[in-house]
């Protein structure tokens, strides 16, 4: 990539593709911290663009879809992006130093648009990050296949692909949340994630973690990512670092604390105001370390920035590789860097049903693969005379 890291932050462009992407961009544009980004949305659906009220709207393929969207048809999406109307988008990203694309995989516009934009960015020598959502499992197998095919197409050209499964929303949002609010919340989260990731790259003055770290961890390897963010204000009390961490762990897109334990890699950045002191930094970063498993590759960054005066902001991207040799043979050798399974406390599968007596309903008690609640002599297979 011909990107010069020195001016990577000069002009970062964020583009939302399709219906979901437009919604995310709308939320992003409402955030004050996004002022330095140039934001745009592109869709084949006229209604969704009009509703979003984003200043930079690019209707693509309106000439022949009549602004009705492409109805989940990837071929239609590809045709839309091949059309001259998309030169406007090329002009828009031409000057960028970094391209961030958000979209919901599985539909027509985003699935086709992402790979098309990735190719363009590659041609122009712009580093690109794709933050895409994978469809809900209830949306059916066909949609999932489309989305997987889309990501497969995207991988060779994009620098970083972060794919967030929508299903993760269930695990963290209470089921009585109104549907509209839940979706909005997920859009906000993804918008914040975009912000968090661009922040990682923008300000790096203490411990640097940058785009190449992302590339190293994510590039061309099929993986599942979860993003968590936590922000706390200094005025919230002395333990505001902990508050930020707690919020991070409660992030709906992180999928709970356990997802971090199972992660193969994690990228963690902490951004604070100029007043951030070393004790707070150490405290917070060490605390996260304890959450990750022993095999997790952890990349840590810390920054200070005037924009964050009085705040602390933690972004965490956890990555779990899927151990399928799916993108050509050469990468399969690479995956051996990471153990397929972290050693767990799983007990041996009992071949004989053994009663735990009064402990059968209590929390498990596994030490060195032995369930201590089962009588010792049964586990050791010692035969005893039970009398008559």
């Amino acid at each position: 990539m011909a990107a010069d890291n020195a001016d990577i932050t000069a002009r970062a462009t964020v583009i939302g593709l399709g219906n979901a992407g437009t919604r995310i961009i709308k939320e992003l544009s409402l955030m004050s911290a996004s002022s330095w980004l140039s934001i745009a949305a592109a869709d084949t659906d006229k209604a969704s663009l009009e509703k979003s009220a984003i200043p930079n709207c690019f209707p693509v393929g309106f000439e022949w879809t009549q602004g009705l969207g492409c109805g989940g048809n990837v071929i239609k999406g590809e045709r839309a992006f091949a059309h001259p109307s998309r030169n406007v988008i090329n002009d828009f990203i031409k000057e960028s130093s970094l391209l961030v694309v958000a979209g919901g995989m599985g539909g027509g516009t985003a699935t086709a648009g992402c790979s098309s934009l990735a190719r363009t960015a590659k041609k122009m020598g712009i580093p690109s990050i794709f933050i895409v959502t994978a469809p809900f499992s209830f949306e059916g197998h066909s949609k999932r296949e489309i989305s997987e095919a889309g990501i497969k197409m995207l991988l060779p050209d994009a620098d970083v692909v972060i794919s967030i499964p929508n299903d993760i929303l269930y695990s963290s949002i209470p089921s009585h949340t109104p549907a509209e609010e839940a979706f909005r919340k997920s859009d906000i989260e993804i918008a914040r994630a975009i912000l968090g990731i661009t922040e990682i790259i923008r300000c790096r003055n203490i411990l640097s973690s940058d785009l190449s770290d992302f590339k190293n961890v994510l590039q061309k390897r099929k993986s599942m990512c979860c993003i968590g963010l936590g922000t706390a204000q200094r005025s919230e009390g002395e333990n505001f670092c902990h508050l930020a961490l707690e919020r991070l762990m409660a992030s709906p897109l992180l999928g709970g604390i356990d997802s971090l334990k199972e992660a193969n890699a994690a990228i963690l950045t902490l951004t604070g105001g100029p007043e951030l002191n070393i004790g707070e930094m150490r405290h917070t970063l060490e605390a996260v370390q304890r959450y990750t498993g022993p095999e997790t590759k952890l990349i840590v960054g810390a920054n200070t920035d005037q924009l964050y005066a009085g705040f602390i902001h933690i972004t965490l991207v956890s990555v779990r590789y899927e151990m399928l040799p799916d993108i050509g043979g050469e990468e399969s050798a690479e995956t051996s860097d990471f153990p397929e399974q972290t050693p767990s406390d799983q007990p041996e599968l009992p071949l004989l049903p053994v009663s735990k007596g009064i402990f059968s309903n209590t929390s498990r008690n596994i030490y060195a693969s032995q369930d201590l609640d089962i009588p010792t002599f049964l586990r050791q297979g010692i035969h005893l005379d039970k009398g008559r």
Binding site: M249, R290, T362, N365, P375, F377, R388
Partner: protein, 420 residues
């Protein structure tokens, strides 16, 4: 009412019993036990040191407190209420901190010690955890000399190592909840083995190195002391209830309370002493069964041996075993089992002593049993903690540097009180 009297209360929510001790500290620092209230926990309300049925525990606790208040003829001072915490969620780690000794003479003062300790306790723990206690382990001067009390020494750099015990916040809160329900909001949690150490270990043992094993009904805790500091600790969620359960499951007799009773009353051992090779137990269908005493002993032995081996293997990884000079002190209800001493001795290859409460004084006399080592120690710990809170950092000097840092309340207080 509490202006002149120093009433301290210790509460233990154990798997087999809920115990409340009320004590009074004299201005000279002498502690006497005023009253003892106890109520048995119904089977299953507390399991492996974790509260399963909150309302039954709350009721039993209420009863125990009432009994204690009645016989002490005084009310509990809720500002000096200590509760022992245990459970498999408790972890420990070592924190280290250092200060550069400044000043013309480069002499180490208590202020240096407190600041080094303060730095040592500033460790990152997972956000869902809280620090329960931190105990100073030892100091190192100039990175070379290990020393328990560095005050007055000339040095450039003072390092402090602290043994920090932390547990899951929700699990700790669960222990405080029954007390809160009863209107005591300001109870102070203490890791149970720290209290047990105060109750059953002599200063001489603490100094020369000792391993304390507190075997309760639900859990077994251990802690290694050397040079008056703690160096390793852990909780293994295996206790006497496991032995009773082993017998019940192993012999196909679903009568756990019968086995509990047998263990408490030492039935098995005494029958065997009398030359009886079989023990008659009422079976499930009403008929009596003759169980060989050897079988029962074997089941108990295997469990105990496994438990001690587990502790041993955990300690081996800390490389602290050679520092145990005075052997092992066993306390808790499990120490009353007849074969436990022999078994611990053969696994650890060390002398073993049963830890009864020491320096026990006051109106209550029936506490001289390892069953009460921990709760009595909690009372002593509370008295010391109260004194530290009362008199400030200077106190650290005066209490013989014996397990000083006390509870987290005290540490918080120390941090606020001393401005560097």
């Amino acid at each position: 009412m509490f202006k002149n009297r120093h009433i301290i209360t210790a509460v233990e929510i154990g798997t087999s019993k809920i115990c409340v001790l009320i004590g009074e500290g004299s201005p000279q620092g002498h502690l006497s036990v005023l009253a003892h209230g106890e109520s048995a926990v119904e089977s299953g309300a507390v399991c492996k040191g974790e509260i399963i049925e909150m309302d039954r525990v709350t009721r039993a606790l209420d009863e125990a407190i009432e009994k204690a208040e009645y016989s002490a003829d005084t009310e509990i001072d809720s500002n000096n209420l200590y509760i022992a915490i245990t459970g498999s969620h408790i972890r420990s780690m070592r924190g280290s901190g250092h200060v550069i000794v400044t000043g013309e003479s480069r002499k180490i003062t208590p202020d240096h010690m407190v600041e080094a300790l303060k730095n040592a306790t500033m460790v990152g723990i997972p956000p869902e955890c809280v620090i329960l206690n931190s105990i100073d382990a030892n100091f190192v001067i100039d990175g070379l000399r290990r020393i328990a009390d560095p005050e007055g020494q000339i040095a450039d750099k003072l390092e402090a190592f602290a043994h920090i015990i932390y547990g899951n916040r929700n699990c700790v809160e669960n222990f405080l909840a029954p007390l809160r329900e009863l209107g005591y909001d300001t109870s102070i949690p203490v890791f149970s083995t720290i209290s047990a150490a105060s109750g059953v270990l002599t200063d001489e043992e603490l100094k020369n190195g000792v391993l304390l094993v507190d075997m309760g009904a639900g859990t077994t805790e251990y802690m290694l002391f050397h040079d008056s500091g703690a160096h390793a600790s852990g909780v293994i969620p295996v206790g006497c209830d496991h032995i009773a359960n082993d017998l019940s499951v192993g012999l196909d007799i679903n009568n756990i309370s019968l086995f509990r009773k047998m263990l408490v009353n030492n039935t098995i051992h005494s029958r065997k002493e009398n030359g009886q090779a079989f023990i008659e137990i009422e079976g499930n269908i009403g008929t009596n069964r003759k169980i060989p005493a050897v079988t029962i002993e074997k089941i108990i032995d295997l469990r105990l041996r496994e438990l001690f081996n587990l502790i041993l293997s955990q300690l081996q990884s800390t490389r602290m075993l050679p520092f145990i000079d005075r052997g092992i002190v066993l306390t808790g209800g499990g120490a009353l089992l007849p074969q436990v001493r022999e078994m611990a001795g053969s696994v650890f290859e060390m002398p073993v002593r049963i830890g009864n409460p020491i320096e026990l004084s006051g109106a209550v006399t029936n506490l001289k049993s390892p069953r009460y080592g921990m709760v009595f120690g909690l009372l002593k710990h509370g008295e010391r903690d109260r004194q530290i809170r009362k008199s400030g950092p200077e106190m650290i000097k005066n209490i013989d540097r014996k397990l000083i840092s006390a509870s987290r309340e005290t540490m918080r207080w120390l941090k606020n009180a001393i401005k560097f």
